[in-house]
Symmetry: C2
Subunit: 254 residues, 2 copies
Amino acid sequence: MRAPKSPRDEGEARFLRDYRPGDFPRPSVTVDLVILTVVDKLLRVLLVQRNEHPFKGRWALPGGFVRVGPNREDQGEDLEAAARRELEEETGLSHENAGRILLTQVGAFGAPLRDPRMRVISVAYVALVRPDLVPLVRAGGDVSHVRWFAAEELPPEGAELAFDHGDIFEAALERMRGDLDRTALAFALVPDTFTIQELRGVHEALRGEALDPGNFRKKFLRMVEEGVIEAARGKRPTASKPASVYRFVTRERV
Amino acid sequence: MRAPKSPRDEGEARFLRDYRPGDFPRPSVTVDLVILTVVDKLLRVLLVQRNEHPFKGRWALPGGFVRVGPNREDQGEDLEAAARRELEEETGLSHENAGRILLTQVGAFGAPLRDPRMRVISVAYVALVRPDLVPLVRAGGDVSHVRWFAAEELPPEGAELAFDHGDIFEAALERMRGDLDRTALAFALVPDTFTIQELRGVHEALRGEALDPGNFRKKFLRMVEEGVIEAARGKRPTASKPASVYRFVTRERV
DNA sequence: GCAAAAGTGTTTAATTTACACCCATGC
DNA sequence: GCATGGGTGTAAATTAAACACTTTTGC
């Protein structure tokens, strides 16, 4: 993302020096995270239980305020940086591990009264957590009010999510489903090396339906031909015959 | 979009009554519009020329501030409402005509220093304008600083767009291309009744490549079988033989 | 008559879908 | 041995891609 840092000419420099922002009301801006993972062919989402008003006791998407700087030279943190910071705080993952998690913006949610305290505009991100990182989530920190929910059992116990987080969650899923076949998103939900069936599990969890193992394999092997995936060393033990493992090649294209 | 309007219990009501927002800096929030149309198989975007600093003289996406209310009972206008208001203001279209234009959110753009005056987070929307409405755009108002540009000739005259509007424009195009085959978006870029070749023109303009007329027709006729489109009365005169016209059936699904 | 685009058809390749079946392993 | 899932193969149906050809209009 380009960010023009310097005035384009002297007139603009003068303008900026003398500029005083108007005194119109401004909204608070937050980031909310739809943290997803797939374990055992089940799509799961990480929710936190609110222990403050409003929506005290309800489950909510983790999130927090975007840090805005005090003046025009220091304007604060980027939206994605805020999302990644919240990701670290809420999951307890190390900076390094959190840095490897794919973040995708879903969009802005800013209906009036979505937060009864004040006008809040939330920028929602999806975070795709590889299953091998899941055991590390909150392993060291306060785990009491943080829980993985199966996507299909939402909303939990008949209680709607806090704020408009139910809408945000639906929008995030919709986006993931649309991108599943067009992007390399699925590879962000499997370990570095993975079996064909592990990848199929991700597709099945997101699409919510079983896929033919033989047919999926064929499509998969076509990806190997195209160089998107390559065979990796070793085998993965399974309930039956050990399976070959593969590696996603152009990881940076995700 | 749900917007919880009332406290969930007495404790929350009390909390809200006594709530005082903190005094943290807040960003300004704007909406920016990527107003697109397709005329003569050419994708066009509506830009405005800035006559104020910063970026004075540069071309920019039309947009403006989201109106935020003064207190928690009156929180101001919805994001999409703000986008539609700006759409009316900048195009000069009537409320009724503007109301028929498809608005789709692209996402939030909030990099620090994207606006040198202050922290501004912009929510970008794409507006798809049917070609029969194009002659009405700015027909009555100030047309001097508003212009349709062919998408392929951007950035104009070697001058980058103002702010990060070049990035926003690219992201909007990318989104439209991805949604073209999955949604009914293309029907928002043709008149109420249209010919096969008019619809093909939309696909060609967005994809940036010519499509085989015969093959496109076949795919099109499959949509007729599925009931997505139906034959309409009348013929459209063309440079040669008059063409049959069709109508999009489930317009509300757009 | 001729250009231009509407409209139709054909052929081939690629892809999708639904199965059947063999094989190696853990228990 | 046998259940389990890995791995392979086949056949039909659908879709995509390339392209030839006929028809109807305006000029």
